[in-house]
């Protein structure tokens, strides 16, 4: 095994280390700049929209000042989650056939269904 000497590492390695990390930074900073501009390009004034929403929310909140704790939020979220997971539009296609047992009734009797009059003997 070679001795570990960080100063004697190939100059190529130094270059790749620093340049490589820098390029990753540049690439992602480039993305940040672009994505900061996207809402403006789309004509969305995000700050205005947010301000508007906050105003509406404030007006709504004035009427009923409700402070929800984390636990309440979690309970609501859980209820919603369970509700939406319980909804299913695909059925299992298994049909349960219930056996219906009935007592004898002359209405369903076979005997009365036969025409015994001209039966060959």
């Amino acid at each position: 095994m070679n001795h570990i000497n960080f100063l004697v590492v190939d100059s190529q390695v130094w270059i790749i280390t620093t340049l490589g990390w820098l390029i990753v930074f540049v690439a992602l900073i480039f993305l940040i700049i672009v994505f900061n501009q996207v809402p403006k390009l789309l004509g969305l004034d995000v700050k205005k929209l947010i301000a508007k929403k906050e105003k509406v929310a404030e007006q709504g909140a004035r009427g009923s000042e409700i402070e929800l704790t984390g636990e309440t939020n979690a309970a609501i979220a859980m209820a919603l989650y369970m509700y939406f997971n319980e909804l299913h539009d695909e059925e299992s296609n298994v049909i349960t056939i219930k056996k219906v047992t009935r007592n004898y009734s002359p209405w369903s009797s076979k005997v009365y269904g036969f025409n015994n009059v001209n039966f060959p003997r």
Partner: protein, 417 residues
């Protein structure tokens, strides 16, 4: 009925007579050849014994089988990335069952079934398919709503380059160092993709190191978080992310694809598939394709990738001092990457004011390891303030870490190929 019985009776008699005749012929031949039936039987048994695992086993096989069992134990008992560790653990056991070489059984033998399955790993086919699934299941809206968090994903990539440097200092070639360094990206598919191109002989060790440290993210990261971030900063509450329009969500993969692949074309298979998968999800008109990519396909590829990567750790290829060095470097790279993200988040806070400040804990999520590192940030945040939910914010550096590590892989490929 009687006719049928008579007919079958006649056939049965004829068949029995024929058998008896042939049997006597064979017996006659056997006694003519000297009657060493027993000797031949023993020879057959000896040949069979030579083929068994018991005869071919070495100590290293048992060590690796124990490692495989340990992976399965970790996955089942502690729930550490079970979707990865169960296939890999089983793969390690499969790959280390001793066998007689030369009969197209082992993973490294040309023409064997395992060799065909391993082709996808060797040629880097599976990682882009996994990225397609990841793209189809990832919601980038937290990143789009707060793009500045993307820089944390770049900061955490320091782990890759620090390990690259460390591996070179330990005597690995630049190509091998690049492949080892990518462990710091905390991204299994990227690690396999890069090592298959730069250092195929080290791929098994690198993949195992990457996946095992990813599984250990909940163990590795919290102590570093507590060490580097003061309690007061751990309690910072971030303002909720803004709502993101559908147009922005659709534009993100297209712009991301164009920008990142123009900067780093070598990462095209990974980034191209990642953004393609995301476009399938966000376009809203290809739900069936997105559904297949994020469910059936990624599951199939994960199974194949896990088992073959595990099986690639045949003791005679895997148990070397190089593997030990790779494991040590991998651990360091994870720690450095986590520390890099955390420290950079604190530095960012120096320039941010008021409620724009970020909770530095989310910096640790920049190492990618989706979604485990984001979950760790959330849990650490909750420990300090039970009402501080960081998951949504942590997902931004988390997914940008995936992009960052793929870009870094592309850069290393461009420099070292």
């Amino acid at each position: 009925m009687k006719r049928l019985i008579t007919l079958f009776g006649v056939f049965a008699m004829l068949f029995a007579l024929q058998l008896a005749g042939v049997g006597s012929d064979v017996f006659a031949q056997g006694s003519a050849s000297g009657g060493d039936v027993m000797g031949q039987a023993f020879k057959g048994l000896e040949t069979f014994w030579d083929f068994t695992g018991f005869h071919n086993a070495t100590g290293s096989n048992f060590i690796m089988i124990a490692v495989g069992l340990f992976f399965i134990f970790l996955a089942i008992k502690y729930d550490y990335e079970p979707l990865l560790l169960v296939p890999i653990g089983t793969g390690i056991i499969i790959g280390n069952i001793p066998f007689a070489e030369g009969y197209q059984i082992g993973l490294y033998e040309d023409g064997s079934v395992l060799n065909y399955l391993y082709f996808g790993v060797k040629k880097g086919v599976y990682p882009p398919l996994i990225f397609l699934g990841i793209g189809a299941m990832t919601d980038f809206s937290s990143l789009i709503s707060n793009p500045k968090l993307m820089i944390l994903g770049a900061a955490a990539q320091v782990g890759i380059f620090a390990t690259f440097f460390g591996a070179s200092a330990l005597g690995f070639t630049p190509q091998e160092s690049g492949a080892i360094g990518i462990i710091g990206g905390a991204d299994g598919p990227t690690a396999i993709f890069l090592s298959s191109k730069l250092a195929p002989p080290l791929m098994g060790a690198i993949a195992i190191a990457a996946y095992s440290y990813m599984a250990l993210v909940p163990v590795i990261q919290p102590p570093i978080m507590r060490l580097l971030i003061p309690k007061k900063e751990r309690m910072i509450k971030m303002k909720p992310p803004r709502a993101v329009s559908k147009t922005e969500k659709v534009m993100f993969p297209i712009i991301g694809l164009l920008l990142t692949t123009f900067i780093s074309p070598s990462a095209l298979p990974l980034l191209g598939m990642l953004f393609f998968g995301n476009l399938l999800k966000e376009s809203g008109v290809t739900e069936r394709l997105a559904d297949t990519a994020r469910n059936a396909m990624i599951n199939i590829v994960t199974i194949l990738l896990g088992v073959t990567v595990g099986a690639s750790t045949q003791a005679n290829y895997f148990l070397t001092t190089d593997s030990l060095k790779i494991f040590a470097l991998g651990a360091i790279s994870f720690m450095v990457a986590t520390a890099g993200g955390l420290i950079f988040a604190r530095i960012m806070n120096l320039f941010l004011k008021g409620d724009n400040k970020i909770n530095p804990l989310i910096g640790a999520a920049g190492v990618s390891a989706v979604p485990d590192s984001a979950r760790v940030a959330q849990l650490e945040g909750l420990k300090n303030d039970p009402n501080n939910h960081l998951l949504m914010h942590a997902m931004a550096p988390n997914v940008s870490g995936v992009i960052g590590s793929a870009v870094a892989a592309g850069i290393l490929l461009a420099f070292l190929m």
